[in-house]
């Protein structure tokens, strides 16, 4: 065997491995593919046997139907207000607290930090009942206040931002402090602008988690018009009933689309940040 044939065989193996991995990847994406393709299929094809992957006839009927079956426009709006509201408030409150923990030396700051880290370990499912009682006492069931307020600050965000603030160079704040700038001014004009990557990361993470959450809107809203896309879509699956799969997939596609667009826009940063949030 000459050197060249050895090289060719190795190349061939490499390309075969690549092709194999590509097929595995496509297979793993099958649920996403089925959502996209079924959303555009007419009902006759959705329920046809044998089932097919691609639509023969492309249609927008399913999208029209989802707006008839559910108050879907309202649900989309609710999802944006809920996930967006939580994200916005949590970003403000978390960054304020994180700044205090990172830069203002005060008595008890260490203890407070430990308490906050410890509270990271409490799953919200375990305290859901008292949270609900409190929200109900405030008269906030079926309101945005009830959906948003309990999540307007979270321990993970505070901890994550504190770590980031600590990594920022301190020269600028010291200079500003000598010039007599207030802490709030330093926070707003020096620290926040330098923390945009971390803030963006936390924003995307918070938004995705809340947008996708099912248990939370199920508990805090009983009125169909106050649900989110995620909780609203479950109304299409009555127990024992026939699921209108085409309409379901159209709704699912709309539910995923904003997140997919966001993901495409901040892809690299998003993946990197998920990795770092997991590790540090």
């Amino acid at each position: 065997m000459t050197a060249i044939t050895v090289l060719r065989r190795r190349d061939l193996l490499r390309w075969l491995a690549f092709a194999g991995f590509l097929i595995v990847t496509i297979a793993l994406m099958l649920p996403v593919i089925i959502i996209v393709l079924t959303a555009f299929k007419p009902a006759s094809e959705v329920n046809a046997y044998p089932p097919t992957l691609f639509p023969h006839q492309w249609t927008l009927d399913n999208f029209a139907a989802i707006f008839q079956r559910l108050p879907f426009g309202r649900l989309i709006l609710n999802s944006f207000v809920f996930a967006g509201g939580v994200t916005l408030l949590a970003l403000v409150f978390d960054s304020l607290a994180a700044y205090a923990l990172a830069s203002l030396n005060f008595r008890g700051s260490r203890v407070l930090l430990i308490v906050i880290i410890a509270s990271l370990m409490i799953p919200f499912q375990a305290t859901l009942i008292p949270i609900y009682q409190l929200v109900a006492q405030l008269g906030w069931v079926n309101t945005f206040a009830g959906l948003i307020a309990p999540r307007a600050a979270d321990a993970f965000g505070i901890f994550f931002l504190r770590q980031f603030f600590l990594s920022l160079p301190r020269d600028l704040d010291s200079a500003a402090r000598i010039d007599g700038a207030s802490e709030f001014r330093i926070f707003r004009s020096i620290v926040l602008p330098n923390a945009v990557p971390a803030l963006l990361t936390l924003a995307v993470f918070t938004f995705v988690n809340n947008w996708n959450d099912l248990l939370w809107p199920l508990v805090f809203t009983t009125d169909q018009d106050m649900g989110t896309i995620t909780s609203g879509l479950t109304l299409l699956t009555g127990p024992g009933g026939i699921i209108p799969q085409g309409i379901m997939m159209a709704g699912s596609l709309i539910a995923v689309l904003p997140l997919a667009i966001m993901f495409l826009l901040v892809q690299r940063r998003f993946i990197e940040s998920v990795a770092s949030s997991g590790l540090k």
Partner: protein, 317 residues
């Protein structure tokens, strides 16, 4: 102490009207600043995390139902958690879920991370992004897609498997297969997330270690067992614990796909908390069950904390 506090011991000094120039005033203002920065977050966390923890513990010793005054019932609710066969079933199911979910999700994630970390793979960026995509799909939507794919009449995967001679029937109605199916949905949603964490761990391994191993004549498998895996053990432990904790909270796709059935075969702790707390309005009992969940989670987190505390010490040495 700090120089700021020294001048405040002077017997008298007229308080400045403007700008708060005196040290006494400055320390008050400093404290006010700290409070202002912390207050919003601490009010929220106090009201919706700390207080509910205390309150849930209190409720768990009562027969609260949301109507009328709750009576103290001692440990009755906890006793029920550990004697009621339905509840024991849901605890066992949650354990089974965790035992199925964790190894499968972690191994798939690790294998994919190793592949997309290889510099010889073309279009690495494309593969990384694509494989991460399921992370942004909600568990509920993932459940809708899988239930269509696995539908016994019109499901594509079911049809293809039949073509290959495998008959799985209606998996969601099958008491043996329903649990693996809801686990499958969660694995599909999560592997990209764990893969990305592994990827970060892999990228922290210094390349010089591989070069040294190669010089010593170590093959690909030797390099994996002697370099990659030991260097990745912290990340590995982290991912395992995160996956276990996620498994304990299983709810969304089960609610969508089986509602806990058939024959309670997919009933989990959180499903049961939702059922008894928000459907049966047995708040005392649901709180006791919540507390059991909380304690299991805290124990797992403690293991993680101890592990990473040790890791921190190692890094600082």
């Amino acid at each position: 102490m700090t120089t700021q506090q020294l001048p405040s011991r002077r017997p008298y000094r007229p308080p400045a009207r403007l700008g708060g120039g005196t040290p006494l005033n400055a320390s008050f203002r400093r404290r006010a600043t700290v409070v202002a920065f912390l207050a919003p977050a601490l009010i929220i966390l106090g009201a919706f995390v700390a207080w509910p923890m205390v309150s849930a513990l209190g409720l768990s010793f009562t027969d609260a139902s949301g109507f009328g005054d709750p009576n103290f019932v001692g440990l009755a609710n906890y006793l029920r958690v550990f004697t009621d066969p339905h509840i024991l079933r849901s605890i066992a199911n949650t354990g089974l879920y965790a035992v199925l979910f964790t190894p499968v999700a972690v191994v798939i994630a690790l294998v994919l991370a190793l592949i997309v970390n290889s510099p010889r793979l073309p279009f690495r960026g494309f593969f990384r992004s694509t494989l991460f995509l399921p992370f942004i799909v909600s568990l509920a939507v993932a459940a809708f897609a899988w239930s269509y794919l696995l539908d016994p009449q019109i499901g594509l995967v079911n049809y293809w498997l039949q073509g290959a001679g495998i008959r799985i029937g209606n998996v969601l109605q099958d008491p043996l297969l329903a649990m693996p199916t809801v686990v499958l949905v969660a694995v599909w949603k999560s592997f990209g997330f764990y893969m990305v964490i592994f990827l970060a761990g892999l990228q922290d391994i210094p390349g010089s270690l591989y070069e040294a191993a190669e010089l010593d004549g170590a093959g690909a498998w030797k390099r994996f067992t002697n370099v990659t895996f030991p260097m990745l053990s912290n990340t590995f432990a982290f991912v395992v614990i995160v996956a276990l904790i996620a498994a304990l909270q299983a709810f969304d796709q089960i609610y969508v796909l089986t509602g806990g059935g058939p024959y309670r075969s997919t009933e989990t702790i959180v499903m049961q908390v939702y059922q008894s707390g928000f459907k049966d309005l047995d708040l005392g009992f649901a709180s006791a069950l919540s507390y059991v969940l909380l304690i299991i989670t805290l124990l797992l987190s403690l293991v993680q904390f101890l592990f990473f505390g040790r890791r921190g010490e190692e890094l600082s040495e």
